[in-house]
Assembly symmetry: C2
Homo-oligomer: 344 residues x 2
DNA sequence: TTAACCAATGAATACGTATGTATTATGGGG
DNA sequence: CCCCATAATACATACGTATTCATTGGTTAA
């Protein structure tokens, strides 16, 4: 800036009072008389005065800032972000702004040194994690933060034993609903595209929902109909190719994320399979693209707006020292054309 | 945090040196002997010491932080963000991280009081604006910041007389290429969906490209084929309905953004028009969804990754006091099925 | 031998705010 | 008329770092 920024001393001088009085007046302290406060605030406005955030933070030991750490896989393409997380990001940004907090965002490679964390450096009052990638690796870092007594909250799978606090989708029941929809329509050989291991608990929970729905419909669970695939169109595509190459029959595919399902549709159509006539497909996330695929994708919608608000509300509670517990968020099935009508 | 954070004094005490020596050692100052530096750094590591960012910023008067202000229309839906800007956001985040800067993000209503800006409050060293909405209103705020000597850079339309520095797409030539593609295919009655006024210079530039291409192809420009539409699927849909209701013939639509084009395709198909057989459609932005519409959308791709890097590079130059000039970025046409083959 | 010099470090201080404590003025109750 | 409570303000200081200036001890050159 061209002209030197005015300080509280400048205002004090102009108002004929002391600096502490200015500090108090600007924060509407009851210790200052109304008359003085008005005079000071008028001068501050005229000078276009803004509190120096660093000085305030240094003194008061809080920052009114939240950090959002988006943890990515090492291999992630430089310019792509999972659209689902983008949606969460938007919602978190708004929610924190509404609560008077600034938001610092940072993308972290999972392998990176983000244990040199923000809060420790007084940079943020709390941290929101939005992570994907390997759960086990991830938990080590989380556990470390927890031991240090950091304020943080995580979007992710809610499990029985976890350090810290989580907010996450009710993956099991949401997947269950999707699969039940398929079995209700008469599908009997349903493939699961997604990694089902402890390294990807969200997917694992969805797999459990898949199993539950199959058993409930009196169908057998064939492990060969589960193909590993991570969240990307390419992985979904390749997993489907693998499925097509195998000799197993299948009449439906559950993609553990929309990107996987979209890749699956592409692979199916390129190999002469019609969707949904030959193979029905359902996804998970309801990313914006899901309603534009051909056919439009039946999928599970997570309420990202609510999720973002809850993440912010809860991290603020933690900062205030209040107690919070993990939250499991219900999701709902959005039925579109990709799973067709009841089979004959 | 549970245990009190260690300060440079703690380290100094343990190392048997003074605090300034610690400060210097941790920043690898040549004023400190190698032996001392190593000892100090070892202790710092053991204590898990992190510099207090607020104290450092207060003292050194810089923050190593950039602010990203995303300016929205007043009416914007709470949870939706234009996918194009999300892509920019991702790219800017990465670029600033790579340069060692943190990124503070904030969504601002255009009517809001974001002139009480971050830099003034020592919160960021510079500001990147990612704005849409009314250009005139917007410029007033920009001009004010410029008068105050703030460091900022803006993504937006590059015009002849502007305060501050801009980076933006070469809208005119990009739109020209799209329209030329349509005229080359034999289309003669091409509608323009988008606001063509000084309040939306990006669209206005695209309109000029549209006019240029038409004239060059020896076609007449019919103002009634230009329908106002802002960037949203709904607006594109409604504008197309308006077009369909009029008596004018048209064989192609240029949507000034992908969302507009997507809304147009929906409206056309709902009214029995085939795309591209009856009406060809092209868009602008190449948002992720564009390749999944039915038919896939021919559109203009902007290099958001490069744009993000340039924005960050240039704001850092401004912060360092170096000179920068506005940049016009070329875009390229992505040809998909929505404009079909050459007309008979 | 001594002055000059350099490397390494310490001492003192500034950055701008917020807050605990001391001070002054004012008014009311006895 | 005096004492005490209260309101309003000033004074002094802490927050943790970075930087300027002063100091020390050792080395080199004349």
């Amino acid at each position: 800036m061209k002209d030197e920024k005015p300080t509280s001393f400048d205002i004090a001088h102009l108002a004929g009072v002391s600096q502490p009085t200015v500090s108090r007046a600007l924060r509407n302290s009851p210790l200052v008389s109304e008359e003085t406060r008005e005079k000071i605030q008028a001068i501050a406005k005229k000078l276009n005065y803004q509190v120096d955030i660093n000085a305030r933070n240094l003194r008061s030991k809080e920052t009114k800032t939240l950090a959002l750490l988006l943890c990515e896989d090492p291999g992630t393409d430089d310019s792509l972000i999972n659209p689902f997380f983008l949606s969460m990001l938007g919602s978190i940004t708004r929610a924190s702004g509404k609560m008077g907090y600034d938001l610092l965002i940072s993308f972290q490679q999972q392998s990176g040194d983000w244990n040199a964390d923000y809060e420790n450096a007084h940079r943020a009052d709390g941290i929101i994690f939005l992570g994907y990638g390997d759960y086990i690796t991830y938990m080590e870092k989380i556990a470390h933060l927890d031991r240090m007594g950091a304020h943080f909250i995580t979007w992710g799978p809610v499990l029985a034993k976890q350090p810290g606090h989580f907010i996450g989708c009710d993956n099991l029941n949401s997947a269950y609903l999707s699969i039940k929809h398929l079995t209700d329509l008469g599908h009997k050989k349903i493939a699961f595209l997604g990694i089902a291991s402890e390294h990807r608990p969200e997917f694992n929970q969805r797999y459990q929902g898949y199993v539950k729905a199959l058993l409930e419909a009196g169908l057998i669970v064939n492990p060969k109909l589960q193909i590993d695939a991570d969240t990307s169109e390419e992985m979904g595509y390749e997993a489907t190719i693998e499925l097509l190459k195998g000799k197993l029959q299948f009449d439906a595919i559950f993609g553990a994320s929309d990107l996987i399902a979209i890749g699956a549709i592409k692979a199916l159509q390129e190999h002469g399979k019609r969707v949904p006539e030959d193979v029905a497909v359902v996804g998970f996330d309801n990313i914006p693209t899901a309603s534009y695929t051909n056919p439009p994708l039946t999928t599970v919608q997570q309420d990202t707006k609510l999720a973002g608000e809850l993440l912010v509300d809860n991290i603020l509670k933690l900062i205030r020292g209040e107690d919070v517990s993990s939250i499991l968020m219900p999701a709902k099935l959005i039925i579109r054309d990709s799973c067709g009508a009841h089979l004959p």
